[in-house]
Symmetry: C2
Subunit: 223 residues, 2 copies
């Protein structure tokens, strides 16, 4: 197995591929926990309902993994992909907007573990600045964003502001030196070059679930 | 083009495939808005960084789409997939838990449009029951869950409760006749047969975004 060699232009990798890598790491962690040492590309592909050519293509971007006749070495592939995703170090996150969503995200376990930590929550409402969320995250004045981003080496902004405020808040994040923005606001805007924006689509979770509901409503019927 | 024919056992379709169908519909809507009438399976695959064999396999489960040499007819394929996902009718959703997350979800545009409507928000806290969210969703007593699910033909439960309460609340949802549960609580439990649970993983959005940040922190540096 060869470690990733050539410097890779990450911008050339699609968001679909990056998301699949995250999913692969979760699956490899589950296999590792089950004591599985090796997995064939065919079995690995089957878990994701993908074909093995697709898996090989996804991985080939980052190096040569897998051995013919043996498959992938689970722990080693997991370690490589974790490193490729940059999850082997902690990135600091600022959440902008201390409304219901911002507070929920600040207290969300997944945003405070395994590669991420919440550095601060920001708002422009004097009534919220100075308070703490349930788990103890401080609400800071968004006027101090640049200073705190610099001081605390924050790398990611999470936008949890109303749609009308999102473009202006995103501009402030970019001015503060942030180059990665996770946008929960239901609005799209043009990010300047060198800034990556990911728009979160919560509805797709409902759609995926709805697919499994029979078409005739089964109102109140017993199982 | 042939419409889906044989009755399909939806349980045999993986969540990965169902999610891809949702994403395909979004892409087809974007193509339609751009006035594109046809798309080749190769170009369609390229948009998702998938190979065209994978796209054909995903679609083949549901019927025969596409014409050799012409590709997919954008509006027709979108209409078929929308129907397959069941998004051509409105499903009623109940959110359980009127904390920050539950209120944010009740007011989230994506949960109140295109195939879904929020019927009610439930809690067991007397201090919250009777209030309204910012956009006017009523907070009801969770003791009335069964009655309201039956009366309002609610089909989907969204769990926005603390981890410690999730399994018990899920049991109440199942007892109320709900067969689809979208779980935001950071906990897993065994759903009874015939009940579909989708666990929401917000962290994967951060991971996908973090992939694009250069490995050396660029603390406060100008673009």
């Amino acid at each position: 197995m060869k470690a990733p060699g050539l410097p890779l232009d990450r911008r050339s990798v699609s968001e679909f591929t990056a998301t699949r890598l995250s999913i692969y790491v979760r699956c490899l962690a589950a296999l590792e926990a089950d004591g599985v040492a090796h997995v064939s590309s065919k079995d690995f592909a089957r878990r994701f309902d993908l074909n093995s050519a697709q898996i090989r293509k996804d991985l080939a971007t980052f190096g040569e993994f897998g051995v013919r006749g043996v498959g992938y070495e689970v722990s080693e592939l997991k370690r490589h992909l974790t490193s490729i995703l940059g999850l082997d170090r902690t990135r600091r996150v600022a959440i902008i907007g201390a409304g219901h969503l911002g507070q929920a995200l600040a207290d969300y376990g997944g945003f405070r573990s395994g590669g991420f930590s919440i550095a601060a929550l920001f708002d422009n409402d004097a009534g919220k600045i100075g308070m703490k969320t349930r788990t103890g995250v401080d609400v800071r004045d968004v006027a101090d964003l640049s200073r705190i981003v610099e001081r605390d080496a924050i790398e990611i902004a999470v936008l949890a502001v109303p749609a009308a405020a999102a473009a202006e808040v995103a501009r402030r994040c970019v001015a503060a030196g942030l180059k990665a923005i996770l946008n929960f606001a239901p609005v799209r805007w043009n990010a300047p070059p060198g800034v990556r924006v990911k728009n979160v689509d919560l509805k797709i979770n409902l759609e995926t679930l709805a697919f499994y509901i029979p078409n005739a409503p089964t109102k109140g019927a017993p199982a």
